[in-house]
């Protein structure tokens, strides 16, 4: 059996009213549009078995579909909804030096170019960026569920100690 399935999922659009309008609202959780094409004798061909007809393909070698279990079929109703992590807050990091190392509460998180968007649990964090030439940037940030925080990190040379 040859089976070709084409599927397409269109992204979820989340429409929401302004924050300052509490109360019940109707919103769009997501829109999905899909299409599929199938050819061949079908998934469950009928065949005689103990005097009757039963659906199945596993006893019929010539009907074996090697792609049945591994097909890249994507359900048209795939929900990609409300971004990444409903209980998290987003931090968009824009660093002047993309190779700078990013530290969160003192722990190394990765290079800046791989951390353009961070999803964090709600809370207060100390974010720090350091590059190899000794320039750094430090800020205390407050992350809230469903909110986006933009951090523009302009790395500065270290301050000289006061004499």
């Amino acid at each position: 059996m040859i089976r070709i399935v084409l599927s397409m999922a269109l992204a979820a659009a989340l429409l929401s009213a302004k924050d300052d309008k509490p109360g019940r609202r109707i919103r769009l959780g997501g829109v999905s549009v899909g299409g599929s094409y199938t050819s061949g004798p079908g998934w469950y061909p009928w065949y005689p078995y103990y005097g009757g007809f039963y659906p199945g393909f596993w006893n019929r070698a010539y009907l074996y579909d090697p792609f049945f279990y591994y097909s890249p079929y994507i359900h048209p109703g795939l929900y990609s909804g409300f971004g990444y992590g409903p209980n998290l807050g987003e931090v968009k990091l824009n660093a002047s030096d993309k190779e700078a190392s990013v530290y969160l509460d003192g722990a190394y998180a990765g290079p800046a170019h791989k951390l353009k968007t961070l999803w964090l649990e709600p809370g207060a964090y100390n974010i720090e960026l350091r590059d190899t030439s000794g320039q750094s940037f430090e800020r205390r940030i407050y992350v809230l569920t469903g909110k986006t925080l933009e951090v523009r990190a302009n790395l500065q040379p270290p301050k000289e100690p006061r004499k």
Partner: protein, 216 residues
Amino acid sequence: MRPVISVCLTALAVFAESSTAVPPRSHPVDYAANAESKGVKVAAEILNADQVRNMFATDLSNYVVVEVAVWPAVNKPLDLSPVDFSLRLDDARAPIRPVSPKTIAGVIQRRGQSRRDDITLFPSVGVHTGSWGTGTSVGVGVGMGGGPPGPASTDRDRHTMELELDEKGLIDGVIQKPVAGYLYFPATSRNKKLTSYELLYESDAAKLQLNLPVSK
């Protein structure tokens, strides 16, 4: 006994000053308004809506945020408290006191929680074709409540907002050095149309009045 009290007072003052997240500017004249009485100097400035949005993760759109700096008199520790300040919106009404970070965080959390009652629609459209024929499908899923939490609506959010407003707020304690911080006054949209406010400072040490222009 007196040295012990003095040590305690100094320790309190050092703790209070080290906990502030907003550094005071060099001079009182660096602020939009300033005044002095009995050696105590107070300077203040109202933050406009853009400044508030950029400086706070917490949504303070329903509040007037005032940056306040206080210089105590030389060699005289000053017992400072946010409730020493009040804001007069116009002559006809009594001045209003600043709102505590705990109260603001609670109000914003409740507002976010109300959004969990939303009705969510999930429309879907499908077209299927093959050797067996062609078919189409249309459907709508409806979800009520139980969705993702609204913005800033969880207990952790409330704690975070309270922490932010507290850390950036004007300290409550004894000071010996200049300090600065924010005060949060409740305001309606009608209040926000005013062009100036009057900030009042009243304590045992001094009584001051500052006219604060509103920058748009």
